[in-house]
């Protein structure tokens, strides 16, 4: 399903971009925040923060809720956990398997007489 692939690409892009990663960190620490408060902690403008929050909201990593004059943003921890776990662990798992293949093959080769 193409939609699924696109969705994952967007998720990965959302998590790996440094500014957005910092914002996710801040949201994790604080539980929730607003664009104004986040901008105070980051070397970017409130407008830029809003733009990045829109990206994060679009892929479901962040949820916004209207509170007075500003939106309050909260992290979707479950979704973030899923992204990092699924892709990171699958790759790590193959690294582990390949290292074992290497060990087994090299041990076997060492026992063989040289041609």
């Amino acid at each position: 399903m193409p939609r699924g692939a696109v969705e994952t690409d967007a998720l990965v892009a959302a998590v790996t971009e440094p500014t957005r990663r910092q914002m996710l960190d801040l949201l994790l620490e604080r539980g929730e925040s607003t664009a104004t408060v986040l901008a105070d902690s980051l070397p970017i403008t409130r407008q830029a923060v809003s733009k990045q929050l829109a990206v994060l909201t679009r892929v479901g990593l962040v949820e916004g809720e209207k509170s007075g004059r500003e939106m309050r943003y909260r992290l979707n921890v479950e979704r973030l956990d899923r992204v990092t776990r699924s892709l990171g662990e699958l790759a790590a798992t193959w690294d582990q398997r390949l290292m074992r293949i290497k060990q087994i093959a090299e041990t076997a080769a060492a026992k063989q007489p040289k041609k």
């Binding site: 690409d9 994790l28 899923r82 892709l87 790759a91 080769a109």
Partner: protein
Amino acid sequence: MPADRIEREIDIDAPIDVVWTVITEPEHINGWFTDSAELDIRPGGEGRLGWEAKASNHAMIVNLRVERLDPPHFFSFRWDYPDGEEPTETNAPLVEFSLEARGDSTRLRLVESGLEKIARSEEDKETYFAEHTSGWTRIAERLRDYAPKQQSTVAG
């Protein structure tokens, strides 16, 4: 790199025939992958990959079908499709091993693809990822590379 594709390359200080044996013979597959592997090693041949119950997960058996075989250069299979179904690109990830002789050494390349094409629910996908990684040592460094701080905080 598309997100649903894992690509890895490793240089092995062993001749290509030895590496080929390690990745295709059940007794060796049990050394790096499964607890009990059965495999009919020919194109279209079927296999069953078994894992015993461990503290962190229960026992499971996964279907496998050989796609392409070109000894000792190429071996691909689809795996983890439902019992009684034909493996296709929408129900089974594709794993491809390419081997290249470099003198007495071998360059082994691994690609696993098609994870996102698979028509699973999000919950099933989560289970897939969880099950496919259980029984293996969690490599925390890799996760931290991927998303440094979130992971440790989320896990804590």
